[in-house]
């Protein structure tokens, strides 16, 4: 199982609809400072519900919606992650699994909607499906910028808890 594509719409600095094709291999993401590299990692955390808005450098979820200079800004942001599921790691028949999350602003309230293969689902349903394929918020498969030595600096009990989660 791997990620085939990430699609961003109005997510942070990705103001237009952008599709990022990916391969099941070693991919380096590079570009100048401030170009949007870490925003791609944030997009994964957002769609797969792996973290709070604080970790994505946003005070509230609406800060994740693209804001440009000229006038009319969009009122929603959406990220869709398409997985290659041909080995059926995720317990469904489909060979491609699509997970999507959208945050929408109506007046000054906002809400976010999750969907799995096109059907709306709840956060806990999504957590359940993802953790069965080894994608969990406590997992060490995502390391944020500046965070690489966190494991060394945390206290010994929290460090042991990493193994608890795996066991």
């Amino acid at each position: 199982m791997h990620i085939k594509e990430i699609e961003l719409r109005n997510f942070k600095s990705f103001g237009r609809k952008v599709s990022i094709p990916l391969e099941n291999d070693f991919i380096a993401i590079t570009g100048p400072n401030g170009s949007g590299k870490s925003n791609i990692i944030d997009a994964l955390l957002f769609a797969l519900c792996l973290s709070s808005s604080r970790v994505m450098r946003a005070e509230r979820l609406p800060d994740l919606i693209y804001k440009g200079e000229n006038g009319k800004n969009p009122d929603f942001a959406q990220v869709t992650v398409r997985f290659d599921n041909s080995c059926h790691t995720m317990p469904v028949e489909e060979d491609v699994v699509e997970i999507s999350r959208k945050v929408k602003l109506t007046k000054d309230r906002y809400h976010s909607v999750y969907s799995f293969n096109g059907d709306t689902c709840s956060l806990s349903e999504l957590h359940d499906i993802l953790s069965r394929s080894g994608i969990t918020p406590e997992g060490y498969n995502v390391v944020m910028q500046g965070d690489v030595t966190r494991i060394i600096e945390m206290n010994p009990t929290d460090r042991r808890k990493i193994i608890d989660e795996i066991a």
Binding site: S38, N39, R160
Partner: protein, 150 residues
Amino acid sequence: KKEAFMTSFNAINENFKDIFNQLSGGEGGLILEDEEDPLGGGMTIRARPARKSFHRLEAMSGGEKSLTALAFIFAIQRFRPAPFYALDEIDMFLDGANVEKVAKLINDVSQVAQFMVVSLRKPMIQEARYILGVTMQENNISSVTGLCLS
């Protein structure tokens, strides 16, 4: 519960010793504060970079801490692989030689797992199989190049 913990711990510890040695040429290991009751205490890391003596974890340099942390992450990966890995500038404290070592390790592991590695360092970018370029257009909008073979 204790059984399950100890099985995971022992396997990850074996992996850690192997990978830490591969990355830094030294000796390392995961240590339980309380072997009798592991869930009652914490876990610390003992790591001795090549040709050095053991020191407290906090006394290590930025680069040594990074290598030790990465050895731990890859030790977990080997025991319980995740479908993908997204690593954002994990090489920021590393000198050129260590960036190359970590890049080669990622290249090996990428045979069995997908790696998306944000990096500004040449040795890492050159080792990758594909490069995704990200740029900022006018009006503050990011865009990406397609995947290019490295």
